[in-house]
């Protein structure tokens, strides 16, 4: 079956090459769009997605948007120590002037943390955060694309403070800006935001008594889970929906294109199939070798498009939100594989219907 499939494809190189090319192009488009969707999503919500927090307490009228939510947490801090399993989360938008570099401003999201708290992801390069009053910050590595390196100083006009970059972290972006971690001590000592204010209060595992006691102190809020908060991040749902719609239509289109191609090839070979049946080949063998061709073609084309998509990560400019995620890529490659098998199966009905008797008596 395998050898027959290969020999046929080698003989009709152009015909099968064309199908392989089309499959490659469609699959590459699907994979690149999915990489873009993933990249955009990461850019917008990776800080939340990577967070260990499982549930968020948000203001009732905030529609789950962290920026619309806010609480005074002084009473909460006094009554329920954070050791019980909760933490305040503050997302403070800042615009830095990168000193010594071009005068463009860098937008970022500043988050005050205790370096031992679960909300702090740790560093991947440079020094770790300290809990003292030094004006040190840990920034997401996407800032490297803007030319930020260790020991650079970033000036914030709003507070008239100059911070020093001491370390990098990764997978920490929020609303298309890199997250900047600063120690709580500095944040409150310098009064970067007034009083003890937090956008939300997070917990790390379901604990009904803790949730109830937080609720009774803060009031006017509700507990929602992480996915609800992620979905409410402005732009996230609409970006993902439009890109996923593109992917969906590409896949539907490829079902039809591939089915049509395989159908034409099958029709062209019906006479051959009739002869082969007459001399004793069974339907199973004929359908098997046809499917084998599709499997070989798809594995070949999809393999190349995965490699091609992977190479895009090197070609595309660094600031471009494109993420080659193996899970997503394998999911869509698998889907494209099934789509081409499905396309081929549609024409196998024609193979079954071929009457071997047509091989006989063409002259009568």
């Amino acid at each position: 079956m395998f050898h027959l499939a290969i020999k046929d494809m080698r003989f009709s190189k152009v015909k099968y090459g064309l199908i392989a090319l089309i499959l490659f192009l469609i699959a590459s488009l699907v994979l690149i769009v999915s990489g873009l969707a993933r990249g955009l999503s990461d850019d917008n919500i990776s800080m939340l997605a990577e967070s260990e927090a499982t549930e968020f307490y948000v203001s009732t009228d905030s529609e789950n948007q962290l920026d619309q939510s806010g609480f005074l947490i002084e009473d909460l801090v006094n009554d329920v120590p954070t050791e019980e399993g909760w933490q305040p989360l503050i997302t403070h938008p800042v615009r830095f002037v990168h000193e010594g570099k071009a005068d463009e401003k860098l937008a970022a999201t500043m988050i005050p943390v205790d370096r031992d708290a679960k909300l702090y992801p740790g560093v991947t390069g440079g020094e770790d955060l300290t809990n003292d009053a030094s004006l040190n910050i840990i920034v997401d590595q996407t800032m490297k694309a803007d030319g930020v390196s260790l020991q650079d100083t970033l000036y914030d006009e709003a507070t008239d403070l100059t911070f020093t970059v001491v370390g990098f972290t990764e997978g920490q972006t929020y609303r298309h800006t890199p997250v900047v971690y600063v120690s709580e001590t500095v944040f409150y000592a310098e009064e970067i935001s007034p009083n003890q204010v937090a956008n939300t209060v997070v917990i790390f595992e379901g604990n009904d008594t803790l949730k109830a006691s937080i609720d009774s102190i803060l009031e006017e809020g509700e507990w929602v889970d992480k996915s609800a908060v992620i979905d409410a991040v402005p732009g996230h749902s609409s970006e993902q929906m439009s890109l996923n719609m593109m992917i969906f239509f590409l896949i539907v289109i490829s079902v039809f294109v591939l089915a049509a191609f395989f159908y034409i090839i099958t029709i062209q070979k019906l006479k051959q199939f009739g002869i082969l049946k007459a001399i004793g080949a069974k339907n199973r063998f004929l359908i098997g070798s046809t499917l084998m061709q599709v499997v070989i073609l798809s594995v070949f084309s999809l393999g190349i498009s995965v490699l091609f998509t992977y190479s895009m990560t090197f070609i595309l400019p660094e600031g471009m939100p494109f993420h080659f995620n193996l899970g997503t890529i394998s999911m869509y490659s698998g889907l494209m594989f099934l789509v081409s098998i499905l396309g081929a199966l549609l024409s196998s009905r024609r193979i079954v219907k071929v009457d071997p008797q047509q091989a006989m008596g063409g002259a009568e």
């Binding site: 007459a278 004793g280 091989a359 006989m360 008596g361 002259a363």
Partner: protein
């Protein structure tokens, strides 16, 4: 001793609108090993229908066909495939080779369908292609071969699975006179050498000299020349 082919009282009708047309009436004959038989008759006389029934490609309305002593009457499609693969070698009007296989692979394919082991396949293919005079063209593709050469490959293919019965349906229809005589004498040579039974359907009276017995289709009956 079992005969390669016994045809017992076959009737076949085709539906034409609301009426039935008799195509074959009480066809009854036997062929022994080593016999090369011709069936002649005008177009539309039912020669190819008869060959299709003998070749397990078409069912009968009444009567029975025994190939190598086995009845093909109540077999399902898959079992008929087995019979065609193992017990019958087909030669068609045109060679009907697969365009993407060279001569040796054409033979290899039918043996592979029959699960013959690789070494035996290779040896048999080589020997048969030598028999039909194509030992030097084993690796040639159909588009590199002449019409006569293609039909020689088809003859070799028909013998590949060592069937008891060879069925040739107008094997010379697409060949000129000289090639026609070459191919038919080649079929005869192989039938005699390998002690097979063979039926050839033909229009061409001049080819009948190669055959041991001649049957004529007349008014839906098959009558043997004496």
């Amino acid at each position: 001793m079992t005969l390669p082919l016994e045809v017992k009282q076959i009737n076949k009708r085709f539906k034409d609108g609301e009426t039935y047309i008799d195509v074959l009436k009480t066809i009854d004959f036997k062929i022994k090993k080593g016999e090369f038989v011709a069936i002649v008759g005008p177009s539309g006389s039912g020669k190819s229908t008869l060959l299709s029934i003998i070749g397990a490609l078409l069912s009968t309305d009444e009567g029975n066909v025994l190939i190598n002593g086995k009845s093909v009457k109540n077999l399902d499609e898959s079992q008929r495939s087995e019979v065609r693969l193992n017990d019958i070698g087909f030669i068609f009007q045109t060679a009907e080779l697969l365009p993407y296989l060279h001569a040796e692979d054409q033979l290899d394919l039918v043996a592979k369908l029959n699960n013959m082991d690789k070494k035996e396949r290779k040896e048999r293919a080589k020997a048969l292609l030598t028999d039909v005079g194509l030992e030097k063209r084993r690796k040639h593709y159909p588009h590199q071969l002449s019409g006569g050469e293609k039909q020689r490959v088809a003859v070799a293919r028909a013998f590949m699975n060592d069937p008891a019965l060879i069925l040739a349906d107008e094997p010379t229809a697409s060949l000129d006179e000289d090639r026609s005589h070459e191919i038919v004498s080649l079929i005869k040579q192989e039938v005699k050498a390998k002690d097979k039974a063979a039926i050839m359907v033909t229009h061409d009276e001049s080819l009948l000299t190669y055959c041991d017995r001649v049957f004529r289709m007349k008014d839906h009956h098959l009558i043997e020349d004496k």
